[in-house]
């Protein structure tokens, strides 16, 4: 029956990765994108652990007495330890950036923030933004923000 457990978890790992990645791609809310990233990472970590799972084996810790027992692969576990800690560091940095974006542009909507960034960059460079054109190739064309943009400037 242990074999089936691995299969069920595998479905879970794929599901978590897909939900996370799709969330990152579909959402326009800065904070929710960070949350979706955490979900996607959990899925990837689970898949990595599954890559070293043996259904007939014990945890990779030597206990005095029974040292001959088969053990699951310790290498993916070490990799996932590394990946989890990396993930939390990146998450903290992402949230710092979200806080700053919110302070500067008073929004948590990626499309609004991006539009304001483009305008600011165009202004700093001294070119009038080409309103009529779509974004350059290789970029997701972005629909016009539906929400009315409140007056610029910091919110709080």
């Amino acid at each position: 029956m242990n074999w089936a457990i691995g299969l069920v978890m595998f479905v879970g790992a794929v599901g978590l990765s897909v939900i996370g990645i799709a969330g990152m791609l579909m959402s326009n809310h800065l904070f929710r994108m960070v949350l979706a990233l955490a979900v996607a990472e959990a899925g990837a970590n689970l898949l990595l652990i599954l890559a070293g799972y043996r259904w007939d084996a014990a945890a990779p810790i030597l206990l005095p007495g029974h040292s001959t027992q088969a053990m699951v692969d310790p290498v993916p576990q070490a990799m996932v330890l590394t990946a989890i800690v990396i993930g939390v560091g990146v998450q903290a940095l992402a949230l710092s950036l979200v806080i700053r974006v919110r302070q500067h542009y008073a929004t948590l909507d990626m499309r609004v923030a991006r539009q304001r960034m483009q305008d600011a960059l165009d202004q700093a460079a001294g070119v009038v933004p080409p309103r009529s054109q779509e974004g350059p190739a290789g970029e997701r064309p972005l629909p016009a923000p539906t929400r009315t943009i409140e007056a610029g400037g910091p919110h709080d």
Binding site: P60, I61, A92, R100, D156
Partner: protein, 227 residues
């Protein structure tokens, strides 16, 4: 419309991933290096917890890289959020403050215990480091006016990271490769065993703790006037 697109994307992605990963060897991995490590680790490293042997021994450089990533994230966070000014908010009630005061030494001991037994039982520098960071951060939640001394945090940060590198360099000076475990292995399963691994985990624990504590303090600080 948008929901339909989302559903299509979700379905397409999961179908793709399931097709890609279908037919993999489940529950019976090839374990080419895993098998070798399991056989060699008790004699080569001497840690009862083989994951620790991998994290600090076989893949010690990854761990150094990981510490550096946390450090980079904290440094970049400092660059983004600037120096902390202060924290406002009412101090917590009597029960909260007393509870935190009681909890602090307990969490300190628990964190250090988890760090120091990483080579024997599940746990180690990362988990213990997080507990240590929480131990130092919780009092700040109870007493918002007080602040953690940033100088000390950055000194611990710098010295713990350097200690990890210094332990690696010591092997280099002895004519062995970088990060080769030092000292005797000792008795498998004893507290003082597996050479320099407990020292490495202590450095990891302090570094992770200091790094995360400074990140938490920075995120909980008030905005010093929107710029």
């Amino acid at each position: 419309m948008r929901n339909i697109a989302t559903l299509l994307l979700l379905g397409g992605l999961s179908f793709l991933l399931l097709v890609i990963t279908g037919g993999l060897l489940f529950g019976n991995p090839p374990m080419l290096i895993g098998q070798g490590i399991q056989q060699a680790a008790p004699t080569e490293v001497g840690a009862a917890n083989i994951v620790t042997a991998v994290v600090l021994g076989y893949r010690g450089l990854d761990t150094l890289g990981e510490l550096s990533i946390l450090f980079a994230a904290a440094t970049a966070g400092g660059l983004v959020l600037g120096s902390t000014r202060g924290r406002s908010g009412r101090p917590g009630g009597f029960i909260l403050r007393t509870g935190v005061d009681l909890l602090f030494p307990l969490m300190l001991v628990a964190g250090l215990y988890v760090v120091m037994h990483g080579h024997l039982t599940p746990g180690g520098g990362f988990q213990g480091g997080v507990i240590l960071a929480a131990a130092f951060f919780l009092p700040l939640l109870a007493r918002p006016q007080e602040s953690l001394d940033h100088t000390w945090l950055s000194v611990i940060e710098a010295l713990a990271g350097s200690a990890f590198i210094a332990l690696g360099l010591a092997a280099l000076f002895e004519g062995r490769a970088f990060l080769t475990p030092l000292f005797d292995h000792g008795v498998l399963g004893a507290l003082v065993s597996s050479g320099s691994l407990p020292l490495l985990y202590l450095a990891v624990g302090l570094k992770v703790g200091a790094e995360l504590a400074s990140l938490l303090v920075r995120l909980s600080a008030d905005d010093e006037g929107a710029s």
